[in-house]
Amino acid sequence: MSKPIISVRGISKQYRLGAAKSQDTLRDQLTHWVKNLGKEQADATESFWALRDVCFEVKPGEVIGVIGRNGAGKSTLLKVLSQITEPTEGEIYLRGRLASLLEVGTGFHQELTGRENIFLNGVILGMTQAEVRAKFDEIVEFAEVGKFLDTPVKRYSSGMYVRLAFAVAAHLEPEILVVDEVLAVGDAAFQNKCLGKMQDVAKNRGRTVLFVSHNMAAVQALCGRIIHMGGGRVLGDGNPDSQIAAYLGEIKKPRTDIAVPLGKVIECRQLEFSPNPIVSGQPLEFTLELGAKQRTQLIDCAILIYSVYGQRVAILDLRTTGGQFPIAPDAPFRCTGRIKNFPLVEGDYRVGLFMNCSEYYSDYHDLASLTVSAATKEGELAPYAAHFRGLVELECEVKF
C-alpha cells in the first residue's frame, strides 16, 4: 500500500484586492497612512478566496487532470503546490522532488544561444548542470533545432522557440510534475508530440503528474483521475468521464456571478449569444461587455469558440482600424455584432476571449457556452450525421 506522494490538507489562499491597487508608489502609501491617521484601521481592502479548504491526496504514479472554469482556482492551486505563492491556511506534504511547468521558456534570454538557454533553463527548472549535460543530445533532438544551436534565440522562429523551450521542460525528471496549460502552444504536430512525451513520462516512468487543461480530449487521454474545481473549491474528484460530464454540464449553465475577472484589471460583465440555442446556418447575434477596475486601454479583443473538447474552432476578431479602446470603471467597453450564417455544425461549443489590455494579455476560457442545433434541410436529402461533418459546414453554390 503506497503512501500519498502529495497530501493537500485544507489549503486556502486569500488575495487582497483594491487597497493595494492605488498604492503603487510610496507617495500613495504615505497619503493613505495620513488619511487613515486616528481611524480604526479603515479596512477598505476587499479580499477574496482564490482557494477555499482544498483537500486531496495523490498516490505515486497517478496522473491527475485539474479542470474548471476561469477563476476556479486551478492556477492558484498549482502556484501554491509549486511554492511560488504561500497558502493563507492549510498544509501540503510532498514526498518527492516537485518541478512545475507553468509556462514554457521561463528564464529564456533572447540574446543567448540555443545551447546556452538549454543549460540556463534546465537549471532554472531544477535540473543540475550534470543532468542537463547528460540529456543535452536528447533535448536537441526532441526540439529539432540542431543546426541553430549556436544562434541567439531571438533569431528563432516562434515555432522553434517553443519547441526548444518545451524540449528542456520535457526532460525534467522529478518525482512530481505539475503542468499548467502549456500544451496550448505550438502547432498541432508538436502538440501531439508533447502529449506523447507526457504520456511516456507518466506511464512508462511512473511519474506523478498534475495537469491543468481546458482541452478535454487531452485530459481524457492522459489522466486516470480528474479533480474538478469551481469557486476555489473541489467540486468533484474521481473518474474522468463523470467529472468531464459534470464540468460540461456546469459550463452550459449561465454563470451566476455577475462579472468574471479577466486578470487583475478587466472583468467580463456580459458575453451572450442570441438566440442560444442557435440553429446551424442561421444568423447569430452576440453582446460583449467588459468592465475595468482602473483606467486602461483595451488593445485587442477577440471572441474564441472552442469545441467541447477544447479545440479552437473559430474566432471573432473585434479589432478595428481605429486602434485601442479606452476603458475605465465608469466607461465599460461594450459591443454587439451579428454573424450572418453561423456555420458551425450542431453540438455544444465553449466560448472564451482573448483580451489584451495595456497591463497584460491572455486567453480566458469558458466564459459562455453556445449550443447549436441541427438545421432542417429543405429537399429530400437528410444531412449527414454531425460527426461526419466535422465542425464547420461551409455554404456553397455547386455547378454540375
Binding site: Y15, S82, I92
Partner: protein, 293 residues
C-alpha cells in the same frame, strides 16, 4: 471534508511541508546551498548578456574607471589642489583616486543592478520557485568581472606611478568582500522595496550621485577628520562606503593611508546592521512577491 491528522511516523517520511509562515523568517542556508548552481548560472547569464550586447564589450570595463580617474585627477588633483595635501605627488593621487573609484563603481553598479533585479525577473518569480535571495545576490556578483578588470588597470597605474608594493595588497579580497556585503545589503532592501514601491527607481540614481561626493572617492578621508574633527568623522563613517574605500585604499597604498579604525568599525557595523535587517525584511516581503510583482 476534513484532512486526516498527520501521523507522527508518516510525517517523518515527508520531504517537504508547505504551510503559511508567520512572523520573521530566518534565512534558509541549506536551501541556498542546494540552489548554488542556479546562483552561478544567473550570474553567468548576466555577465554573458552584458558583454554580448555592448559593442565595445570588455573595453567599457577598462574605459570607465580609467577615464574617470583621469578626469578626477585633473579636476580634483590639479585644479582643486587635493594632490598637494598630505605631501602626495600627482602620481600617488592618481593611484589614490583609482583605489577609491574601483570599490565605488563596483558598489554603485552592483547596488543599482541588484535593486532592479527582482522586478527585472518578475516573469521567473511568478512562474518558478527558488530562494528569491539568489536574484539580488547574483546581480551583485555579476559586477565582480568589471571589478577584476579594474584591478588589472589599477596594478598598471601603480607600476606607472612607481608606488611601492607591500603586503597589505593581500588584504584586498577581504575589502572586496566588505564592498560586496555593502552592495548586497542595500540591494536586499531596495530590491524588495522595489517590488512594492516603484519609487526605488528614482532613489537609486540619487544615492549613486550623492554617494560619490559623500564618500571619500576623490579625496583621502583623513582630510575630513583633520578639518571637522572626530565627531563629524563618525557621522561621515555612517556611510558604509567610507569604511570600504578607506580599507581598500590602505590595502593598495598602505602606510600613511591607514584608516582611522574607530570610524572604520562604525562603517562595518552599519553594513552588518543593513545586511541582517535587509535579509529579514526580504524574507518577510518575499511571501508576497509573486502576488504583487
Amino acid at each position: 471534508m476534513t484532512a486526516p491528522e498527520p501521523h507522527v511516523n508518516e510525517l517523518a517520511d515527508y520531504e517537504r511541508v508547505i504551510r503559511p509562515k508567520k512572523g520573521l523568517v530566518a534565512v534558509d542556508f541549506d536551501e541556498l546551498w542546494r540552489y548554488r548552481e542556479l546562483f552561478w548560472f544567473l550570474a553567468w547569464r548576466d555577465i554573458l548578456v552584458r558583454y554580448k550586447q555592448a559593442a565595445l564589450g570588455v573595453a567599457w570595463a577598462v574605459l570607465k574607471p580609467f577615464l574617470t580617474m583621469v578626469v578626477f585627477t585633473i579636476v580634483f588633483g590639479k585644479l582643486a589642489g587635493f594632490s598637494e595635501k598630505k605631501g602626495m605627488n600627482f602620481e600617488t593621487y592618481a593611484v589614490l583616486t583609482l583605489a577609491g573609484l574601483l570599490p565605488w563603481q563596483f558598489f554603485a553598479n552592483a547596488m543599482a543592478e541588484s535593486s532592479n533585479s527582482l522586478v527585472g525577473s518578475s516573469n521567473m518569480i511568478s512562474k518558478i520557485y527558488f530562494p528569491r535571495l539568489i536574484i539580488p545576490a547574483s546581480a551583485v556578483i555579476s559586477g565582480a568581472v568589471d571589478f577584476a578588470i579594474g584591478l588589472v588597470i589599477l596594478f598598471g597605474v601603480m607600476l606607472w606611478a612607481g608606488v611601492s608594493w607591500h603586503l597589505n595588497l593581500l588584504l584586498l579580497p577581504v575589502f572586496f568582500l566588505v564592498a560586496f556585503a555593502a552592495a548586497f545589503a542595500i540591494g536586499l532592501w531596495l530590491s524588495a522595496l522595489n517590488v512594492k514601491y516603484r519609487d526605488v527607481k528614482y532613489i537609486v540614481p540619487f544615492i549613486v550621485q550623492m554617494g560619490l561626493y559623500a564618500s571619500p572617492v576623490a579625496f583621502p578621508s583623513a582630510l575630513v577628520r583633520e578639518k571637522f574633527g572626530d565627531e563629524v568623522f563618525f557621522l561621515f563613517s555612517l556611510n558604509p562606503m567610507v569604511g570600504v574605500i578607506d580599507g581598500f585604499r590602505w590595502g593598495v597604498l598602505g602606510g600613511a593611508f591607514e584608516p582611522y579604525w574607530p570610524g572604520f568599525w562604525v562603517s562595518i557595523a552599519v553594513i552588518a546592521a543593513l545586511l541582517v535587517s535587509g535579509a529579514l525584511y526580504f524574507r518577510r516581503a518575499e511571501k508576497t512577491f509573486a502576488d504583487v510583482i
